[in-house]
Amino acid sequence: MAAVEQSSVATPAAARPNWLVRDLIGLAVILAIAAIGYFLFPNNLALLTRILAIALLVLSIDLVTGFCGIATLGHAALFGAGAYAAGIAAVHWGITDPLLMVVIGAAGGAVAGLISGAVILRGHGLAQLVLSIAVVNLFHEAANKASAYTGGSDGLSGIAPDPIFGMFAFDLWGRTAYGFAVVLLAVVFILLRLLTRSPFGMLCRGIKEDPIRVRAMGASVHGTLLKMYVISGLVAGVGGALNAISTQVVGLDSLSFTLSAESLVMLVLGGTGSLYGALVGTVSFMWFEDFVSAANPFHWLTIVGALLIVVVLFAPRGLYGSALALVDRFRGSGK
């Protein structure tokens, strides 16, 4: 009893620096892994950049699924909206400054988040899931039909972003694009860590755990979730814009159900509700997919499927969540 009281008295004072330090360590680890990736795979930077863009999409799903408990299989709508917004701005309006394109992509994603959130949040459970699929299919169809702007099924090409700050031109090897992607991801990640610990983030966690209790506290559940959906759209939109800038094309696949489902799988693989899990899941899934499809072009999908079954059955909290639980157990037994 005395030990319990001692530790709980000590915690509040130590709590604040604790999470700040942990976040800075997390950021350092992300940057270190990004640097290692750069030196280990100098000829594969396009894939690494694509992983970072998708990581932003998966982070954005984590915001609504992991932190708010909303089920969605249509989140690529937000990613694709960001990609098309940035692409259309570049091709049709001549806005080719990469930072401005990212801002426009974020805005496009936010608008898509507002629209799809307004629809999806009408339903619960299975109905919500079906609505989310309907939304991404409608977005897909809209982009397909508006071919004058989007290029339809041929995709939107001819995106030629200016050098960043007029100094760093996008090169053939994708070095600039990769650096740009790492910086964007790091900035977004830190902002999201702050967001999830903010009063608003706490309210979202509360809604996930018990919406009735949140209402009984006088808070609007629907308004809070819609706001989170818009924020999630901002993040996915940045990812979409990054993808448009780095690949210089936008295709209909960026608005597809397949991408929505795959990115949800990546989140579940890594673990929901921590942001780190989203990153771990994206990197492991996409790296594994690339590795296995090169090693065995005929059976790679089977192998990916088998891996997923193993993870879901034996590590239901995802790779990151399960690793964390293991560490906790070792610490617990060490005491």
């Binding site: 009281e5 915690t11 604040r16 610990r197 608003f200 983030g201 706490m202 006088g218 924020i231």
Partner: protein, 254 residues
């Protein structure tokens, strides 16, 4: 003293079954009222009507002079009508400190902030500290709710309601499910409620009712059959017939 809470001629029927029949209650600040009644008397329906989870067929709910009958449950909370739950509704993964900080920030309109940490807000932490101390929860402030005892969770329910600074507090069986050894702590918490707060407690435990309430309302078949002092309630023939019969017999046998 002007009434802080009035229920006027509330009626509700589900199909042909009248579950609330012409119920009227007036409460002043500082009132300690217990609402009792046998199972199926319509207590839960009454709570749902008052909190806005059900819409009455007719009648009014007036909170601090404002007619709140037509507004939803959430705005009613913001106007000062707060309830606790019969079965604890808390966030299992959050700590008591986080629960109370969230409630305090919600009350003061600060849960929309997307940056900033509650531990950096001195006024929030001070209020949370006071509430934790008042309910005797300070030693478990940073443990996850899923890991604390049920009696402590019930106390946190009460603290959470108080953090919203209500004008009227509806306590739905605050001692339900609490082991006998912990009920004195719940009773102490109830005794320590702010003296200007109007409290309506729905409770089955008659000992608790008699110790807490200055006034008892008995609901049977959706209608009020008694509204008076705890001393008189056991003497009332209709109440004995409807509800207390077995209890009174048990007591005399014991």
């Amino acid at each position: 003293m002007s009434a802080v809470f009035q229920v006027q001629n509330l009626r509700k029927a589900f199909g042909g079954l009248a579950v609330t029949q012409d119920v009227s209650i007036t409460m002043n600040p500082g009132d300690r009222v217990a609402l009792i009644g046998p199972n199926g008397a319509g207590k839960t329906t009454f709570v749902n009507l008052v909190t806005g989870h059900l819409v009455p067929d007719s009648g009014k709910v007036i909170l601090a002079g404002n007619d709140v009958t037509s507004i939803g449950p959430t705005p009613r909370v913001r106007q000062g009508l707060v309830r606790s739950f019969q079965v604890t509704r808390l966030f299992p993964d959050m700590t008591p400190e986080e629960h109370l900080a969230l409630a305090v920030m919600q009350r003061s309109g600060r849960t929309g902030a997307i940056f900033g940490h509650y531990q950096a807000k001195a006024d929030v932490m001070a209020e949370v500290g006071e509430l934790l101390a008042a309910l005797g929860l300070d030693h478990i402030a940073t443990r996850k709710v899923a890991e604390i005892a049920y009696g402590q969770q019930r106390l946190l329910e009460i603290a959470l309601a108080l953090a919203l600074k209500p004008k009227v507090l509806l306590l739905d069986e605050p001692a339900a499910g609490v082991p006998q050894s912990d009920t004195p702590r719940i009773e102490a918490a109830l005794a320590g409620l702010p003296s200007d707060l109007a409290v309506l407690m729905i409770e089955h435990d008659m000992d608790l009712v008699f110790r807490f309430a200055k006034r008892v309302i008995v609901l049977a078949a959706g209608a009020i059959i008694f509204d008076g002092s705890p001393e008189d309630v056991t003497k009332d023939a209709r109440v004995r017939e409807a509800y207390l019969g077995s209890y009174a017999n048990d007591r005399s046998a014991a």
